[in-house]
Subunit: 297 residues, 2 copies
Amino acid sequence: MIVTVTPNAALDVTYRIPALVAGSTHRVAVAEHAGGKGVNVARILHALGEPVVATGLVGGATGGRIRTLLDAEGVPHAFATVDGESRRTLTVVDPSAATGFWEPGPAVPLEGWIALCHRFTELLGGARVVVLAGSLPPGVPPDAYARLIGLARAAGVPVVLDAEGEPLRHGLAAGPDLVKPNAAELAGLVGPVDDPVDAVRRLGAVAVVASLGPDGLLASTPDGRWRAYLPEPVGGNPTGAGDACVAALVRAPERPWPDRLRDAVALSAAAVRAPVAGTVPVDEWHRLRPSVVVEET
Amino acid sequence: MIVTVTPNAALDVTYRIPALVAGSTHRVAVAEHAGGKGVNVARILHALGEPVVATGLVGGATGGRIRTLLDAEGVPHAFATVDGESRRTLTVVDPSAATGFWEPGPAVPLEGWIALCHRFTELLGGARVVVLAGSLPPGVPPDAYARLIGLARAAGVPVVLDAEGEPLRHGLAAGPDLVKPNAAELAGLVGPVDDPVDAVRRLGAVAVVASLGPDGLLASTPDGRWRAYLPEPVGGNPTGAGDACVAALVRAPERPWPDRLRDAVALSAAAVRAPVAGTVPVDEWHRLRPSVVVEET
């Protein structure tokens, strides 16, 4: 089983309107999905037929809604419960732009963080790989991912970390098996250096796969270094491409890196081309896979 | 006991941000209140010490949040439950403007509307006056208020109706004891006529009190016609002034109209001046009351 951990799980709300006009009132069409990076990774893995469970922290009416929506999609979940309301992430979409409004998430008391550690430890018993993903809600210690990595390592379970800022920096020092920064996260960690991917790896990760948008993936691993990309980048909505990349990378950690990177580039591109953000176009994934170029560097 | 009915109860969400920029992402500070016109009237009556209960339809996680927030304020409620999610009404506030996003509300199946009728009939037994207020959610018949007015009349309970459009037009034909249209609602009902207040009354209401913003109230009743206003209109946030007006009017239906109108003008103005929309500044109400001018017309 793959376990994904989303400490700051979200209710993703989309309002569609004809045109955003500041100062006026808009009647909206509403769509809602359970969200947060780890939840999205779990949804993709479930759609690919992988045994998976989503954990993390949810609270209040919004947390109940997150659970209900995952139930409706059939995505297994086992969240710990926190007092307070889970955050909503609202995107207002009109034909010219997508405007985002991000709530901060609940203030997590010490008991909430302890409850998540307990739940995580229970799930480690059946886990073959763990994904830690996304931001931390207020109150969760900035080294939370480092502590969860320590628990997973003690249990002999590989860990993938997809985070940014202080949680990523602390997490790296705990020795995750894989981190997947994007270009902005690379720069935030190591600044303008010649080889930021290797520089991040030296901060403590066993392997680093950097996602560089249309430039594909750059991987630095104990088995070698690769670049993987599509010769003709696809156009579309990049929301969710990073989560698709992580989902592809964690499916089969025992397979050779070039195969995993080919899968990850193709699934990210399929997500970019998906007509609805967050859906998993499996056919498109299979169609794109042969076109991916993987080069040793 | 006063019973307020809000068929389309809402979760009022406020996001405060430094500046709204279309196409960008904003981190927001969140405030939430139970809302919908009848819920707001119930909150005000409760703050004034009047025995009151809020009913209507709520559903889903958002409906649960509405109940939780009313519990936290101590406002008694007895909603019927509907499948689907209650609507949210979001206001994004930056220093230059308030921008609204209104969800439509749940699609109410016949069972939901029947459940509301049952709950309403149960509550009528202990009611001395009923307030029907606000929009109808999709699926509730447009003559819903007319039917509820019929049930209340059969039970000998006076009814105040605060609605607009078709629900108001149908409701008027059922003979409510009082309707409180604003200027736009008057115009929508009878068009540009010499005396729209009397024209609305001829559509079926026993009495009409029109709220005309800074121009105060214009009342046409079986006991006479009055205008009530403050000589110096107050500045502030008009959100909630109409609900305060209704709350003041229903408190004591047995008192003479000039007293009720004086109360209503002063409470509306106090609501406009309140630093936080939806709060009830009782001291300000008492302070403003002696200044209200009530003239027979």
